[in-house]
Amino acid sequence: MPEPQLSHITKLRAGGGCITVSILGEKAVFSELSSTYPLKLLSQFIQDTRAIAYLLTYGGGLVSGDEIGLVVNVQLGATLILLSQGSTKVFKARPGKRLASVKSQHLAPLTLHPKHPGARTISTRQNLDFHIAPRSILLLLPEPVTCFRDAHYRQSQRFHIQGDGSIVILDWITSGRISLGEEWAFSHYYSMNELFHNEKRIAKDVMLLDKEELGDHLLPNRSLRERLQPYSCYAMLILFGPEVQSVIAAISARYDKISIFKGVVVRMAGIETEMVKGWLREALYGLESIIGVDVYRRTFP
């Protein structure tokens, strides 16, 4: 399959971006690193075949209507570590109809209803496509997503792994700004992770957390918080490929048999986000040899 490359530059829209890491001689290089507002990419450093980049957003968060579209190519033999600076904050969604009249306010409660196409919430979206070449490694280890009150967020990530490429994917969410009393107070969170190995779909995880709007009065409505408490952080970790076999083996040994597609999917919930972080730091200790001591300590302080 031809690697999607530089051609993306011309197609960049607002929030678009492209990262391509390839190997030149013995060293990793960012042969492409481009982004447009509100997405910002920061290349931190390069160490041998390893490259690190940070995903940032201007102003420290995403607002309603932001649409991030990032294409990432990790080419033959390279290792890319993608981190974020702080958690991805998603601000409150505003109703689709931005009329200055009071009337439009009435539309807001309906906005989550797919059957009311006229009243659409403008959600915040992130679409990320990853292409992992043979012998390369992608480690996607961002801070968790934090959706503020009434936020409407959709994230889709697709991973195309070729041959003996390897990946580590961490996808996690916190309950919100606990300091402000927000606990699972957002309105919609959708996260999709789809993995293809040599074009064949091997795993697809879709998590949807949204407010239930029941059509009738047979049942009392229940808040998202009631469904998700007592935890304030849910995380999912996917590991796949030959380079992370030792980490997979270590995790599988701890939890008996959870390996399901030559890779492994691990799910966690924690009363506090720090507890999940602590677990990850321990469970992923084997990654230290792949990403180096410095980067490991930076990622899991």
């Binding site: 797919p114 959709r154 889709s156 959708y190 999709m192 779909r201 091997i202 795993a203 697809k204 995880d205 879709v206 998590m207 949807l208 957390l209 949204d210 239930e212 029941l214 059509g215 009738d216 047979l218 049942l219 229940r222 469904r227 998700l228 935890y231 849910y234 939890y255 008996d256 048999k257 959870i258 399901i260 999917v265 799910r267 966690m268 919930a269």
Partner: protein, 288 residues
């Protein structure tokens, strides 16, 4: 199919004695109770209702799209066959097409069911349904006098389809997951989609309640009360909410499929964790 016949089929399919293996599945309830989540509720009944609500909601959103698509595909195949008449032109091709559609749905369900406990339970119940059809619902030659030639013809075509699919399961070419097999079975029996969806959710909820009785958390009378008063609105709500969901595999429309709005999804992350931890319990009486 007339309403009386459909009702009769509903009665048969809702029999708790059907050998579909659902009595060995607790859909995560055993793990939920063992991990102490039930004890935070004020009563065992509250805890069970809470579990049913979360489990049913997530199951409906993730599995019903597969039931619906499998059902639609088999219904379409069945009506095409009738229009084609007896010539048998293109029959092999359309049989291949429907088998491929079911296989694709089954593969997607496998990719989306990311814990081995749920996969195992789904596959064992799925294949049991296929066996049920061929052994329990097919018409033996001794009873052929009770039908006309046309319906016998239809039955034999459905029989061939489900037998072929079962053969693929035996050969391990497909997994034979429950929602796909349920959709195919109910369509083959002529049950309409709405009823097939509703019954599927009801059976999911009822098997959780019977698991609760076997776990000695609820008495058999209490379970009936919950089934009548609490489960009915839950099933009705989820059946309504999820009736138009699709997998997206069979929809080749130009405008694309709005996956986030209409596609399958898990809605209860704790349920996934509990299911995954089922086999870690020191002793257990259910297989899921």
């Amino acid at each position: 199919m007339d309403d009386d016949t459909e009702t009769y089929i509903l009665l048969l399919l809702s029999d708790s004695n059907l050998p579909t293996g659902s009595f060995v599945a607790s859909s995560g309830l055993e793990s939920y109770v063992k991990h102490g989540f039930a004890s935070s509720s004020s009563s065992a009944a509250d805890a069970t209702v809470e579990f049913v609500r979360n489990s049913l909601s997530s199951y409906a959103r993730s599995a019903l799209p597969f039931v619906s698509d499998a059902h639609r595909a088999v219904m379409e195949y069945s009506s095409h066959q009738e229009m084609d008449g007896k010539e048998g032109v293109g029959t092999d091709k359309s049989l291949d097409d429907i088998l491929k559609a079911l296989t694709d749905l089954d593969g997607l369900y496998q990719a989306m069911t990311l814990n081995h406990v749920s996969r195992r339970a789904s596959m064992s119940q799925g294949v049991a349904l296929l066996t049920l059809y061929s052994k329990g619902f097919s018409r033996p030659p001794t009873l052929s006098a009770f039908s006309g030639a046309e319906s016998r013809d239809h039955e034999s075509r459905m029989q061939i389809l489900l037998d072929q699919f079962k053969l693929k399961v035996r050969r391990e070419e497909v997994f034979g997951h429950l929602p796909i097999c349920w959709g195919a079975l109910t369509a083959a029996l002529g049950l309409n989609l709405e009823r097939a969806q509703y019954l599927h959710l009801f059976l999911h909820a009822r098997s959780i309640l019977s698991a609760s009785v076997r776990l000695n958390d609820l008495g058999p009378y209490g379970a009936q009360q919950i089934l009548l008063h609490a489960v009915r609105p839950l099933v009705a709500t989820e059946a309504t909410r999820c009736r138009n969901l699709r997998t997206g595999l069979l929809d080749n429309s130009v405008e694309g499929f709005d996956e986030a709005a209409l596609g399958p999804a898990n809605t209860w992350p704790l349920g996934e964790i509990l299911a995954g931890r089922h086999d870690l319990q020191h002793s257990r009486i259910f297989n899921s």
